[in-house]
């Protein structure tokens, strides 16, 4: 029972275990440098152990699926699948992974962080396992991209090296981009099939191939495959990834990372193959890659470079096999996957040993290592021979199959003759570079100027290589007893059907493939012998064709384009930003209106015009135009603005909005005072603009805005409407207890607006206060005419008479406040009047004098205002009504008579206090600014300071 339960969740455990292991590995390095390696090895073995119980089921022909719901909205399940193909890859990943771990434990030097290395490696392993074990395609893409990320970390492991950083980034960009394409492909696939689960997708091959999205799907998936598996034209990242520590290369470029793409080809083989598009795209890419890789490998001086291009070439080979599209070709492909993984892993390890022992990887310096490290040399030679396709080694077998497929599978094509020939050419180079690897490293005289004297590596560093080479031999000699079973299930898993007949014998008699092998071997040796001339030819031209140049050019181009677009749009210019907003608004209004067929104007009866109104509006318009026209003379422009404000108040009066008129009047003056306070510190004139184009552009936008707004206003005003306002008019008295409907709306019907509004005002005051802390500005000591300021700080007559006005204005404020509920007025206006009353005192008596007499900290006034306003609302909540519910009643007191008590008045009091507090705070803080700024600059000392003396006496 327990085993059964376990068996139904072991696949996610296998895939996720390495990730948890990674945490332990990183942590373990703190205890002991080598502990990470042991953790990593243990985790890998544990994963194998978790996988082991399922192996028998797969061999029995079952496909294991374990799934949980995750995001049902998009059919994303947390789902794992184990079939033959997945099993093959899982075993490759884990077994070769284990060997690499053992190898790396000896490879890494003291200064390398073990914890980081093994953590990254385990995460990478987990990602790979995730890809091959995923049942859900989106989940597979997740792991797919994780391999890109973790390989980035692994390749850039020696982060201080420029080539490591560049190589890692290139790998990330190319494979990451492919991953995104794959994602798109998978999404389309899921869209077509209606499910992201492999089981469903694999069963829908017919549907997919017949769908008009087939080609996009194919291309997108292949982009994923080709980038990951370093197929032309994306192959160039792989050699640059060789900056990674060699164990990483051994792992990534033999059995894992690059095989992920191949895995995907195999996975989708039953779904996507069998069409001309498939053949051309997959076969074409494979063939070109095969050739380019094989050719280029020969000319590498870096051992790992040679192996990298060889890898590219072999991946091309496998791709080409899949491209043939036949079942037998797929068998060959899978077989070669296994073989390549073994010999290439061992070769990379050998390269690592050499690097480790000699301190270099340059084959021009490394020579004659046979006598320094004979054991290693023998291993290397066997593995290289396998790579070259020498009989009795695994590489020979799959290569034979490959030749056979090359001959048969392309029969149908017009280019039938071309494929076998090109394949032989590639094989020739393959032999040549393998030969070069052996000859140039282990023979070819004495080493040149090596940093270290080489000798055999530690015992355990060779054991992984030993094992891999033994596999090469075992498979090569007795395939039926070694590789056959796993190959069979893998093929079955790939084809999702009974595999075709194929033979794994080493001897098929004298046939064309054998001949081809022979020709390749002979010509290969020949090419190697003639290498000098070939090298010269290569160095003179082809060597400089590096796709990296294109890659860098593309990135550089992207950089340049991005910068120029960003800088030309986001110029850091306010004018630019404002123009965009306003122009967009204009366009939006226009598009909105024209998107519906409706007349611009309605047919509501309009109001007749009278002379006074015409005159007033004319003054308004002229004043506003003059505000603009005279804007460079700032003070005069400000005076014009004053006229505009005045006329607007008059308009409000005329059109039955006394409350608005009162507010407008007060706000207008406070604004003017504010602007005057500010203008003191600003230039008195605006310089003339130099850019006529901008001016005319702005004029156009301004005029269009004006016209647009006029039309919009008319469009509405010529229509009838049925507003909700009747409710307010009817309920103001019975429901709100006030006859001034505007005020009742403000403090009752829409009291929350008002609460927000006083919050804004409070914030403005506090924000201004905060902004002005510590601010110092240059205070001019003379005006624009060059005159010193008048020495009379507070003209006597103004002082005396405005003091007289204070109680009067406060009285008016209270009057306006109290009547607000029933007649024009209210907290706002009263607050503004009271604030103006205080401001006048500041104006005529100065800040110090007034502050001495006004003991309130305006913070308190604002705070209490908000408190009172909110508390009024909260009281209602206490009584079981919603926030802001008001109540009123009529009291009848002796003498005083009948009067109304409304909670809205309390609310209005809060409003009043906030308005006073915020307004006074803003202005006075601003006023103080000048006093602080005055201290340094010259005061008009040339004139008598009687006034100030008198001032002091008065205090």
């Amino acid at each position: 029972m327990t085993s059964l339960t376990f068996l139904s969740i072991n696949l996610p455990i296998v895939a996720l275990l390495p990730f948890f292991g990674a945490i332990f590995a990183a942590w373990a390095s703190k205890i002991n440098r080598l502990a990470s390696a042991w953790v990593a090895a243990f985790v890998t073995i544990l994963a194998l152990a978790f996988l082991a119980p399922s192996i028998a089921m797969v061999f029995a022909g079952e496909t294991l699926i374990q799934s949980w719901t995750w995001i049902p909205a998009i059919g994303l399940e947390f789902a794992f699948r184990l079939d033959g193909l997945a099993l093959l890859f899982a075993l490759l990943i884990l077994v070769i992974g284990l060997l690499v771990i053992i190898y790396a434990r000896y490879y890494l030097s003291k200064k390398d962080s073990m914890g980081r290395f093994f953590a990254y490696l385990l995460m990478f392993m987990g990602s790979m396992l995730g890809i091959v074990l995923s049942e859900n395609l989106i989940q597979m893409v997740v792991f797919w991209e994780l391999t890109s990320l973790t390989s980035f970390l692994l390749i850039s492991y020696w982060q201080y090296r420029k080539d490591a950083r560049a190589g890692a980034r290139m790998a990330l960009v190319i494979t990451g981009a492919g991953g995104l394409a794959l994602l798109a492909g998978v999404l389309l696939l899921g869209h077509v099939v209606g499910s992201y689960n492999l089981t469903d997708v694999l069963a829908a091959g017919e549907l997919i191939r017949g769908h008009n999205l087939y080609l996009p799907i194919l291309v997108l998936v292949l982009l994923g495959v080709f980038t990951k598996s370093a197929q032309f034209p994306f192959h160039f990242w792989l050699p640059h990834a060789m900056a990674a520590p060699t164990p990483v290369s051994a792992y990534l470029h033999s059995a894992t990372m690059v095989k992920a793409g191949i895995f995907l080809l195999a996975r989708f083989f039953p779904v996507l193959s069998g069409t001309p598009e498939w053949t051309w795209l997959v076969g074409g890419a494979g063939l070109i890659t095969l050739l380019i890789g094989a050719y280029t490998a020969l000319f590498q001086h870096d051992i790992k470079g040679l192996l990298a291009y060889s890898t590219i070439s072999h991946l091309g080979l496998i791709t080409l096999l899949f491209g043939f599209g036949t079942q037998l070709a797929a068998v060959a492909a899978i077989f070669h996957i296994i073989n390549h993984a073994t010999f290439k892993a061992s070769l990379f390890m050998v390269a690592g040993i050499i690097d480790h022992e000699t301190g270099t990887r340059d084959m021009r310096r490394i020579n004659g290592l046979l006598k320094y490290m004979p054991h290693t040399a023998i291993l290397a030679m066997i593995a290289a021979a396998a790579m070259a396709g020498v009989p009795l080694l695994n590489g020979f077998l799959s290569k034979e199959m490959f030749f056979e497929q090359a001959l048969t599978a392309s029969n149908s094509s017009v280019w039938a003759w071309a494929v076998p020939i090109l394949v032989i050419v590639a094989a020739v180079f393959s032999v040549a570079y393998s030969l070069r690897f052996i000859h140039d490293v282990f023979f070819n005289g004495e080493p040149v100027d090596l940093p270290k004297t080489p000798h055999e590596p530690p015992r355990f560093m060779k054991i992984p290589v030993d094992l891999l080479v033994i596999i090469c031999l075992a498979v090569g000699i007795i395939p039926m007893f070694t590789v056959a079973p796993i190959l069979a299930v893998a093929v079955a898993g790939t084809l999702q059907t009974t595999p075709p007949e194929y033979s794994l014998a080493i001897w098929h008699g004298f046939n064309l493939p054998l001949l081809m092998s022979f020709v390749a071997l002979v010509l290969g040796v020949l090419v190697y012998v003639m290498r000098k001339r070939l090298f010269a030819w290569h160095e003179s031209g082809v060597a400089h064709w590096d796709a990296r140049i294109i890659f860098n050019a593309v990135l550089g181009g992207l950089d340049a384009v991005a910068k120029s677009i960003t800088r030309s749009f986001d110029k850091g210019s306010l004018q630019n930003a404002s123009v965009w907003v306003i122009a967009t608004a204009l366009l939006a209004g226009f598009i909105g209106f024209t998107s519906v067929s409706a007349p611009l104007f309605g047919d509501r009866e309009l109001m007749p015009v009278d002379g006074v109104s015409v005159l007033a509006v004319a003054i308004l318009m002229i004043a506003s135009v003059l505000t603009l026209a005279l804007h460079r003379k700032r003070l005069i422009s400000l005076v014009m603005l004053g006229v505009v404000g005045l006329i607007i108040s008059l308009m409000f009066v005329k059109f039955s909005a006394p409350d608005l008129a009162l507010t407008q009047l007060s706000v207008e003056i406070v604004t003017v005072i504010l602007l005057l306070l500010a203008l003191y510190f600003l230039p008195q004139t605006t310089p003339k603009e130099t850019c006529d184009l901008r001016v005319s552009r702005d004029i156009v936008i301004a005029v269009l805005s004006g016209v647009g707004v006029t039309l919009l206003a008319m469009a509405v005003l010529t229509r009838d409407f049925a507003p909700i306002s009747e409710f307010f008019l009817l309920n103001s008295v019975p429901g709100g207890g006030g006859t001034n409907v505007v005020n009742v709306i403000l403090v009752d019907f829409r009291g929350t607006d008002t609460l927000g509004e006083i919050a804004v005002l409070a914030l403005a005051g506090l924000g201004i206060f905060a902004m002005l802390q510590g601010m110092k500005l240059h205070a001019p000591d003379r005006d624009t005419g060059g005159r010193l300021w008048n020495s009379d700080l507070h003209p006597e007559i103004m002082q005396t008479l405005t003091r007289l006005l204070l109680p009067l204005m406060l009285m008016i404020a209270i009057y306006i406040f109290l009547r607000g509920h029933n007649l024009p007025g209210g907290g706002f206006i009263a607050g503004l009047i009271a604030a103006v009353a205080l401001i006048v005192q500041y104006l005529s008596n100065g800040i110090a004098w007034t502050n001495d007499r006004l003991k309130f900290d305006m913070h308190w006034v604002i705070g209490f205002g908000l408190l009172i306003a909110t508390a009024t609302g909260l009281v209602a909540m206490g009584l079981g009504y919603p926030f802001m519910t008001t109540a009123f009643t009529y009291l009848n007191w002796p003498v005083v008579g009948k009067f109304e008590v409304a909670s809205a008045i309390a609310f209005d009091l809060g409003v009043f206090l906030v308005v006073v507090g915020a307004t006074v705070m803003s202005l006075v803080e601003l006023g103080k600014l000048s006093n602080e700024s005055h201290q340094a600059p010259v005061k008009p000392t040339t004139q008598p300071t009687t006034q100030r003396k008198l001032e002091q006496e008065a205090n």
Binding site: D783, M798, L801, L805
Partner: protein, 105 residues
Amino acid sequence: MFEWILSALIVIGAFFTLVGSIGLYKLPDFFMRLHGPTKATTLGVGALLIASALYFSFKTDDISLHEVLITVFLFITAPVSAHLMAKAAIHIKLKQVDRTQNKMK
């Protein structure tokens, strides 16, 4: 009779208001212009306010004297405004017509 008084006050008030503005408009220098608004206009508005007070006192049940407030207010403030404007004008040495006696420089 009441209507007559009212009408007269309205016309007189409006007239003096206008006179103030005419002064403002046509007089040749700032200091001379200053006289129009401070006096004529104040009186004009005063007359109109009295008209208003009368009207609302007699047309409605209540008496209406609050217009007096505006008048008083103007009588206090208009000279202060004028004083300050004149002070400013002297400070920035505005030109005066040549025939001005004791010209300020």
